[in-house]
């Protein structure tokens, strides 16, 4: 059988630095193929060449046995290759149908658009795929997961045979992810080839048939997932044996750390109470929109709860703005480092110091030596890989950026650490280091509250887990007495 897509010896460098040395890949029809690798392994470069965004320096690409070369995304699409990008870019003020047929609207008389035909075709396509989305809905009213489904429909409307998905589950919840997987299974049944890129290994094992691993820009190996286990795959991705994935070194003490009672913000969260001890890692699990982040926003003064009390070490505290929370020793590592964590246009050093400026410069003028020393300490402590600390933080890899955010908050020597998805978009190696940092913090008597939508992470890291459902608590469970199935069941 002829493969849908075959790539050999693909190379690409940017400004003298090789991003891809030897990209190899082969995709069969009717299969889901996982493309694995850490940050900087060359996956994105590989995708951007196949999409026609970048031109390759060398190597060959065959589409159904015919050598091809793409100069633009349109050419790649014309040959049946579509990509669902990590960051979707829909036109929000247009309908689903308009988005699907953007740039090739069926025309009516006098150069107008035949909206009737367009809507009918779009609806037929959505129905065939069993996506419960109406074609005349505005794009902006859809959830991220639904937008992804629209993107899939759009790819199919182009008669795409090869569909790449770049981290599709990074912004959607568990339940929506299952719907996406169902859609992928349907594509597979139709004989399409799906290339699935994700850092989440459990997903890969759930939906993919085969895998290809890249490391440092080169092909490392490929095969059927049935022939490899999780440890083996991690070893290939990281290039060495990593040992246990979750190393827990902390043990909760008997001292109360951070207590929250009856926290309510109408329409967001209802009557949330929990008490976290010193040295404990307290996990919060729930779907997107279940009120997880809203809890942190209330605790950190970014949102105003109508009722609720907070106690720190037994003493009641009041927080009405972030500065109050910071004063009390609470640190908040926010969900999306690019949106709320970092000032991407500024340097590594300035980002690390950003939350500590009042303390570091009581007299208005900055103390540059202290800043220098602080950023040096944090870079060393977290093993942040940066050429120098005055370089823009945007030049770092995702894992290192996340460590800069952690460094920013650790510099304040917090008592309570609120972590919202601390390892999103971070590769396996960097994840490990972040887990170590969190455990060390708790082992030194810190109090950690961690939101995560990765079940393995919540189960692997937390001592106890609060499950959120529809803005309410669905109970608090010790890690020993629960498992993945129970969590999914409770949260939906």
């Amino acid at each position: 059988m002829q493969s849908l897509l075959k790539v050999e010896g693909l190379t690409k460098s940017f400004g003298g630095v090789a991003a891809l040395r030897d990209g190899r890949f082969e995709l069969d029809g009717g299969s889901v193929h996982a493309l694995c690798g850490g940050n900087g392994a060359g996956k994105s470069t590989f995708l951007s060449i196949l999409m026609g965004i970048h031109k390759r320096d060398g190597g060959k690409i065959w589409r159904r046995g015919t050598p091809v070369e793409f100069n633009s995304p349109a050419e790649a699409l014309a040959s049946g290759i579509a990509i669902i990008e990590q960051e979707l870019s829909p036109v929000p003020h247009m309908t689903v149908a308009e988005n699907i047929y953007l740039g090739r609207e069926p025309s009516a008389r006098f150069g107008g658009i035949d909206f009737k035909t367009m809507n009918r075709n779009a609806q037929a396509l959505l129905d065939r795929l069993e996506f419960s989305i109406r074609a005349n809905q505005y794009m902006m009213n859809l959830s991220v997961a639904q937008m992804q489904l629209v993107e899939i429909a759009k790819a199919l409307s182009h008669d795409a045979e090869v569909i790449f998905m770049d981290e599709p589950t990074s912004a959607i919840g568990e339940k929506e992810a299952q719907q996406l997987f169902a859609a992928i299974a349907r594509l597979k049944a139709e004989g399409k080839g799906v290339v699935y890129v994700s850092h989440r290994l459990s997903e890969i094992f759930q939906i993919a048939d085969s895998y290809t691993v890249f490391r440092d820009g080169s092909y490392v190996g490929s095969g059927a997932l049935a022939d490899i286990d999780r440890r083996g795959l991690i070893r290939m991705i990281v290039g060495r044996e990593l040992g246990e994935e979750y190393i827990k070194t902390n043990a909760p003490t008997d001292m109360t750390g951070f207590e929250v009672s009856n926290l309510t913000a109408p329409g967001k969260i209802e009557d949330i109470s929990f008490a976290v001890r010193k040295g404990e890692i307290f996990g919060i699990y729930g779907l997107m929109g279940s009120g997880r982040t809203e809890i942190f926003n209330c605790l950190f003064g970014l949102d105003t709860p109508t009722t609720g009390e907070m106690r720190l070490g037994g003493q009641p505290i009041s927080v009405s703005k972030p500065a109050d929370a910071m004063q009390q020793g609470i640190a908040f590592v926010t969900e999306d480092r690019k949106v709320t964590g970092l000032n991407l246009s500024d340097s590594v050093r300035n980002n690390i110091c950003l939350a500590s400026l009042p303390e570091m410069s009581p007299a208005f003028t900055m103390r540059r030596h202290e800043e220098q020393a602080a950023s040096r300490d944090m870079i060393a402590h977290f093993g942040i890989k940066a050429a120098r600390d005055t370089m823009p933080v945007s030049g770092l890899s995702g894992g290192n950026q996340q460590k800069v955010v952690l460094g920013k908050w650790f510099l304040r020597k917090p008592k309570v650490l609120l972590l919202d998805e601390p390892t999103r978009g971070v590769d396996v190696g960097a994840k490990r280091e972040i887990y170590r940092i969190i455990c060390d913090f708790a082992a030194d008597g810190g109090t950690v509250v961690m939101i995560s939508s990765e079940i393995d992470e919540v189960l692997g890291m937390s001592d106890r887990i609060l499950v959120m459902r529809g803005g309410r608590s669905a109970g608090i469970y010790a890690r020993e007495e629960t498992d993945a199935q129970a969590l999914v069941h409770l949260s939906t």
Binding site: A19, A41, P322, A325, T340, L342, N343, L344, A355, L357
Partner: protein
């Protein structure tokens, strides 16, 4: 994502220092090149008299552009500076005129009273705009467009559409006087520049400005009061507009109701030529000063060559767009 990382990394990690220098000092090199060409084409250009003249002509725009830099760094814009120049100029002048009909009764007041009033008028205009932008979340473009119209109207109402003539010599000194041969407006510009440079590069407040402009959400979660920061930059721009208004009326000897029309455009041009990004968070006040000097030197040089001022406007337009095109190419590798 990793491809983008690698691409950026390559420009930062590689020892391509030449590129780095052009990136950091490109605008300064462009300025030197312009001055060099002009000095070759006209022997009068580099004489002390002409240099002083260029600086004098740059001083008012320079002060406005520095205020504008603060605003643009926080992702804002201030279109009202030209009108505030006129309003602050005419109100302060009414305290410093010997004319009985145009002045405030009991005048002329000492020049420092007039000076304080002019700055307060600018501050008040800036505070109003700042309040509207930061508290009521009106886009800066709209809020300051409103102030552009309102302040101009207020100027005409205040002076009855007539100029305020016959300013006292003490007041005129800030526009026409000199210390050790350096014209007062140039000294004022130098002071404003030095203080602004210090504030933006060496203080917590400056750091907050970059943070708010670079990523307001991240600034907020880092405990920075974003609303207050935005409010404050319009007060800075307003106060400096007030100062510039008095520099202008002091130099010409009377405050005109039509003073400062379209000054906001030159101020924004200087900021943009100086490499400050209109999307906020990136830029330097040094760049702005050089941007203002480039505009001043270009106008002066073209004057010396006897080229009509109409052409100068066309060239300035090309310069603004060209500078931003270069900037885009540099930053995004188009």
């Amino acid at each position: 994502m990793s491809s983008i990382d690698n691409k950026q990394a390559s420009t930062w990690f590689s020892s391509d220092n030449r590129r780095l220098i052009i990136q950091e000092y490109g605008i300064f090199l462009a300025f030197l090149l312009l001055a060099f060409i002009l000095s070759l084409s006209n022997e009068y250009f580099l004489t002390p008299g002409n240099i002083s003249n260029v600086l004098l002509q740059t001083s008012i725009n320079g002060v406005l552009a520095i205020g504008m830099t603060f605003v643009i760094l926080t992702r804002g814009i201030d279109l009202s500076v030209g009108s505030v120049v006129a309003l602050a100029g005419i109100i302060s002048a009414s305290f410093a005129t010997t004319s009985a009909t145009a002045g405030i009764s009991g005048g002329p007041y000492p020049f420092y009273v007039a000076l304080a009033i002019g700055i307060l008028v600018g501050l008040a205009c800036g505070a109003l705009v700042g309040l509207i932008v930061s508290r009521f979340a009106v886009p800066a473009f709209v809020a300051t467009l409103g102030m552009l119209s309102a302040a101009r109207g207020a100027t005409l109402i205040y002076g009855g559409g007539k100029p305020v003539p016959a300013l006292t010599p003490e007041f005129r000194w800030i526009g026409t006087g000199n210390i050790l041969g350096i014209p007062m407006p140039v000294i004022l510009l130098a002071i404003v520049f030095a203080v602004s440079w210090w504030v933006l590069t060496r203080t917590r407040y400056g750091r907050y400005i970059y943070a708010v402009g670079g990523n307001p959400h991240a600034a907020k979660t880092s405990g920075i009061n974003v609303t207050r920061m935005k409010f404050s930059v319009y007060m800075i721009s307003g106060s400096l507009s007030g100062l510039a208004g008095m520099m202008l009326s002091a130099r010409t000897g009377s405050a005109l109701p039509q003073a400062g029309i379209a000054y906001e455009l030159d101020a924004i041009a200087a900021v943009v030529i100086g490499g400050t990004s209109l999307s906020g968070g990136v830029g330097r006040v040094t760049g702005t000063l050089i941007g203002a000097l480039i505009i001043g030197v270009m106008n002066n040089g073209l004057d010396l060559m006897g080229i009509q001022s109409y052409y100068q406007q066309v060239l300035k337009g090309a310069l603004i767009v060209g500078a931003v095109m270069l900037d885009q190419k540099r930053n995004h590798g188009l």
